[in-house]
Amino acid sequence: MVDLIDESTHVRSVVLDLPDWPGHRAGQHVDVRLTAEDGYQAQRSYSLASSPEDGQVVLTVEVLDDGEVSPYLAGELQVGDQLELRGPIGGYFVWTADLGGPLQLFAGGSGVVPFRAMLRHRAAANGGVPVRLLYSARRLEDVIYRDELGRLAANGETDIRFTLTREWPDPWGGYRRRVDREMVEQVAWSPEDRPLVYVCGPTGFVETVADAMVELGHDQAAIRTERFGPSGG
């Protein structure tokens, strides 16, 4: 581990230097295994936050109060410590520039992590593919990668909408509620645009969005989901 970056109050990025890293595709994840002195093992899966072109491998970890692995990764791990991990793995929730677009991304909470890898990969591939992202967070302070997303939105290449579900700054131009079908319809590409759709977040968020997209006429086969449950660990 070579660096630790605070992304928000409960979220930190862990930067890893992996000399033998074989490379990965945006959206893939790694399994991190911790072994206690008594041999007890705990393993969790984390999405890669870095793009294949970034040079370093970055995991973004949400610290869960009752978690077994996340408090260690984001709290106790020190620069220079070693980690046991396996990956990259997963071939399903993956986007590579040659798949084209347009891209429709829906992120709930730390579900935005694989999308940072995709957005960076898209930028490294000289953009081109139009992207829309809807990002749902509890409050503005919980928005991960706020500055980076703000820059992407400001230069007009990426259409990023936010919805905050608990607290809002004043003034606030985004949505102020949990995601629903009306919101999905307003922000998403139309079915005629044939977007590639990726939805990542807590189970309820993913199911609301995926159901809405199917009802709106999108092809189920073009919708890829990654649920991480109400808590990960």
Partner: protein
């Protein structure tokens, strides 16, 4: 910690250990209800003793991955996987 359901793609690592290759894009057919789709789209329980993959339509147990005698073994239940090397 509660046991929560996630997507089969989160079980990619366990499946890789058991089968020796990336499995989440393999199309599995539930022999209980006939639902067919990539293993990534099944329902996965990662915090049971072992990893359990269930059919998203009928909830039948498809595959259970467990540690066994120093290795990792997949027990296939109500599932049909493509023939050949799987």
């Amino acid at each position: 910690m509660t046991t929560t359901a996630v997507d089969g793609n989160a079980a990619a690592g366990a499946l890789f250990e058991a089968y020796g290759r990336e499995m989440t894009l393999v199309v599995a057919t539930c022999t209980a209800c006939g639902q067919a789709g990539p293993l990534a789209e099944t329902v996965a329980y990662l915090q049971a003793p072992g990893v359990v993959l269930r059919c998203r339509r009928c909830d039948a147990v498809l595959i259970v991955v467990v540690a066994h005698q120093g290795g990792t073994v997949a027990h296939e239940s109500s599932v049909r996987l493509p023939g050949g090397d799987v």
